[in-house]
Structure formats: C-alpha cells, structure tokens
C-alpha cells in the first residue's frame, strides 16, 4: 500500500501511474531509481536510437509545399510542374498525418515495456 503511494519505509519504489505523461527521459529515471545497481550506460544506450522526424518539421514542410504549388500553378495551371507540386503537397500531407497518428498512439511507458518486459516497472501478474 505504502509502496504504491510512492513512499515506503524500505526501498523507495516509484510506480509510473497512468496519469504520468512525461517525455521520453522519464523511463530512464524510473528504472535507475528502482534499481540503482544497474549502470546508467546500458539504459542510455538503449534510448539513443534514431528518432523519426518530428511532426513540426513535417507541418512546416507541408505549409512550404502548398506555397510552392500555388506559385507554380499561378504561372501555368496545366504544366507538369504544377501537377508535380500538388502531388508533393499530397505526399507531405499524408506523411504528416501518419506521423501524427504514430505519435498519438505512443505512450512512453508502453514503448519502453514493449522492448523490456522483464524490468520491474513492466512486470505483470496475471495469475
């Protein structure tokens, strides 16, 4: 009971509650506090992986491409450049929407536990 509350007489165990919506670094801190004998390096190494493009960059690209398309088509509405420019807009809009969906689904704790189910925070007791 006391452990769940986050304050315990013996070892302080911090449980990630569902309401915790913090950026990526939090799972590192949690596991370090719970198992201080584990070295930082392994956890940090786990987390330094290439990150897909952030949606903000994509949103800027979408906006830019719309402006380019409107310029290209103001000169000649049926040219190849105009059509290719609007196709680019479509491609970037699709990519932005996919990136948004991907980010919407990702929960930092769930992502960490998917890769490391044996760690303390991720153990489940079903039986």
């Amino acid at each position: 009971m006391a452990a769940i509350a986050g304050v315990s007489i013996t070892t302080p165990k911090i449980f990630a509650s569902a309401s915790v919506r913090s950026p990526k670094p939090s799972p590192i801190k949690l596991s370090l506090l719970n198992s201080p004998w584990k070295s930082c390096t392994t956890h940090l190494r786990m987390y330094v992986r290439p990150v897909a493009a952030a949606p903000d960059k994509l949103s800027d690209k979408v906006e830019e491409s719309i402006k380019n398309a409107q310029e290209a088509c103001s000169e000649d509405p049926v040219s190849g450049e105009c059509v290719a420019a609007w196709d680019e807009v479509e491609e970037l809009s699709a990519a932005a929407s996919h990136a948004k969906d991907k980010n919407k689904d990702s929960d930092p704790l769930e992502n960490y536990c998917k890769d490391n189910p044996e760690t303390d925070e991720c153990r489940t007791y079903d039986n």
């Binding site: 190849g80 059509v83 196709d87 680019e88 491609e91």
Partner: protein
C-alpha cells in the same frame, strides 16, 4: 520407377539449399534407389512445403485507407505489424509473425526533386522502377531474401536498402501493384480500394484541415491536379482486381453532403482460385435486406444490405453492398450471423475483429466490415494454398 519419382521430387526444390536463415520446415524424403549392384544408394530430396510465399496486392490512392486495411489484415493473422526494429525509422515496411507489408513507393525511380524536375507525379509510371519491383517480388515469392530500397516520405529521398526476408504472406500495397503485367501474374490475390470523388474529398478534408497552411481550396486543388494522372494510370487497375471495395455516398439520407454515412460495395470476381465470394441467403440471386425491424432496432438512418450478381469490366462478379452504420454490437453480430461464406473459424469472429479495432476509422460501417471479411478470406486462401502444397509432395511419394 525410382528414377521417375526422383524427377517429380526435384521439381519442388530446383535451387540448391539456401544459406540464409531458413524459416520454412524441411520435409526430408529419403528414396532408396535400387541399382543393378547389391548396394542401395540413398538419395536425399528435401521438399519445403512453404517455399513459395503467398503474395497479395492492394491498390489505392493516397489517403484512401490502405494503412487501416493493412492493420486489420495483419491483425487477422495475429500479432501487430511493426516497422523493422533497429532499421531506418522512416521505413515503410511492416513486419509481423506471418506477414510482411511492403510499400511500393520504395520502388520509385525518381525521388522528389527528380520528379519536380521532370514535372511528373508519383502516379506516373515513369517515376517507378517496375523491373526492380518484378524481380524482387519474384525473388521473395521463391524464398530468396532481397535488399529493397527505401523511399523516405519525409525527406523525399531514396535511402539505403533494407533486407527483406521472405515471409509466409507478402502484401504489396501502393499505387501500382497491378499496373505491370508481370507483377500481376505473381499476385495470388489482389484488392482495389475505389473511393468515389465526394468521399475522397470529405476524407481529405478531415485529414488535412488541421494542418497549418491547408485550406478547402488547397485540398481541392491538390485533388484536381492529380486527377488526370490518377484516371490514366491508377484507376484502370480495378479491372484486374479480384476484389474491389467501392465507397460511395449514402443513398439512405437524401441530399447528404457530410459524408459520415457511407455506402460500401464489395465487388468479388467469380471463378478466382481459392476464393469463394461472400453471399446473402442464396448464392447467385438478388437480395435486398433491411435487418432493422422487429428483431433488431436500429437508429436513423439504419442499415440496408443488397446482394446481386453483376458484370464488372467484362467479368462475372457478385456484389455485396452495405449502406448505413452500425451503432451497437448486437447489430453487428446479427448481420454477421446472416452472411455466408465469410470463412470465419468460429461464430462471431468478424464482430470480435471489428471490436478489437473499434478505434480504427470505418469500424462502424461497411469499410471496416468488408475489410475484415476480406482479411478472413485471405487467411482462408492462404490455408488452402499451403494445404495443396503439402498434399502434392505426399502424392508424388506415393507414386
């Protein structure tokens, strides 16, 4: 006799044993060849029943629900499909235990700048390398891993290739899976998502209006600019598809322009190997069915089903149509219990699959229902193909 049975056996394993990680079961067949001398020579012939991958093709324009369909399809086979771990984070490939989904955008021959210079869209065949597509899909089908290029949608460049190991089921999704005749021959089953212009416009508005810079005019201009290439290169593929999911505005609400309620038609080609079309009540007849009545209460605008035989681009087809929306679980299970040939393994499987992904778009109308049913039909097709492959070597050994 030994010689003749040997020759039939070698047909199943023409290539030397593959040196990469073999994922298929090897059935070792030992044949004793009797020669004129007293010694018996043993011949080892290995037959891999799952040597050949089943290939499914899915064609649809951008923003038409390919990703949702893929997620439903891979879910039918079990497990979630995810991008390859440790690889390029912008990879378009999805891998699950039984399936691998390849996005055909990876076979673009021109990257974004290249297309801009030449003034071609991604829909144009000149922007795609069909030779590479054909050779790689053929290789995967025969069980040989390939290094497939990656088209990065964010940067618009062609990234270094990634290794694709032959899965049990390969799904190729994109704009041109059925464009090239050679690739078409490799497909065991093909699907085309045909979204009507009004519905496409409504979906793109929903998708893009939240984006900075987009307005109603820009969305409309984008659709119109791509329309001529789409009609010339993408749309004709629907005549080759074994199943077409056509999405139209509803007929239940007069003058509806919100596009929330959809009329979805599942057009299934007759005579496709391993594929029996879904039907209502009586195969080959014309049925019009409104399930809402005494046993089932539906809210406005209700649900209407139609089933009839028809012709589509010169082929005999069966058309199952659903107009309306599901509001409650019991409507869905009631409808499922009246459909035939849906290839479920237990009563309520379609409903269970729909509920599992209740947050996906289209989960309350015909798009989700027919996509789920097609997923189950593909599973049935896969099981039939693998069953015939395991049966054939057994037949040869008996001879």
């Amino acid at each position: 006799m030994a010689a003749s049975s040997l020759s039939t056996q070698t047909h199943f394993n023409p290539t030397p044993p593959k040196t990469h990680l073999g994922l298929f079961n090897q059935n070792q067949v030992v044949l004793y060849g009797k020669t004129t001398t007293t010694t018996c020579r043993r011949r080892f012939i290995s037959c891999s029943a799952e040597d050949k991958t089943v290939v499914i093709g899915l064609a649809a324009d951008s923003g038409c629900g390919k990703s949702t369909f893929m997620r439903r399809l891979t879910s039918v086979f079990g497990g979630a499909a995810e991008p390859p771990k440790g690889g390029n984070p912008d990879s378009n490939t999805l891998i699950s235990e039984m399936t691998t989904v390849i996005c055909l955008d990876d076979y673009h021959s021109l990257d974004r700048t290249g297309r801009k210079e030449k003034g071609v869209t991604a829909l144009d065949p000149r922007a795609n390398d069909f030779d590479l597509m054909y050779h790689q899909v053929k290789a995967i089908k025969e069980g040989i891993p390939v290094d497939k290029p990656i088209y990065n949608h964010v940067s618009g460049l062609l990234d270094p290739p990634e290794l694709i190991k032959p899965p049990k089921i390969l799904v190729i999704e994109g704009l041109h899976p059925m464009y090239d005749a050679r690739v078409r021959e490799l497909l065991d089953f093909s699907i085309y998502l045909d979204i009507s212009n009004e519905v496409k416009f409504a979906w793109k508005i929903q998708r893009d209006m939240a984006e900075r810079g987009h307005s109603l005019e820009s969305i409309k201009a984008s659709i119109d600019a791509r329309k001529s290439d789409f009609d010339a290169y993408i749309d004709p593929q629907k005549q080759y598809a074994d199943a077409v999911i056509q999405v139209l505005p509803t007929q239940l609400i007069p003058d509806d322009n919100e596009g929330n309620v959809l009329r979805v038609r599942l057009i299934m080609k007759e005579g496709v190997k391993y594929f029996d079309p879904v039907y209502l009540f009586d195969e080959g007849s014309t049925i019009s069915w409104i399930p809402c009545g005494r046993k089932l209460t539906c809210s406005y605008p209700g649900i209407k089903f139609t089933y009839c035989p028809d012709t589509y681009y010169g082929h005999e087809v069966s058309v199952l149509e659903m107009d309306g929306q599901f509001d409650r679980l019991d409507e869905l299970i009631y409808v499922e219990s009246h459909l035939s040939n849906i290839s479920t393994k237990f009563y309520g499987e379609v409903t269970q699959q729909m509920l599992k992904h209740a947050d996906f778009p289209g989960s309350n109308n015909g798009t989700g229902l027919f996509q789920t049913i097609i997923g189950l039909k593909i599973r049935d097709l896969y099981e039939q193909i693998t069953r015939t492959k395991t049966a054939a070597p057994l037949e040869a050994t008996k001879a």
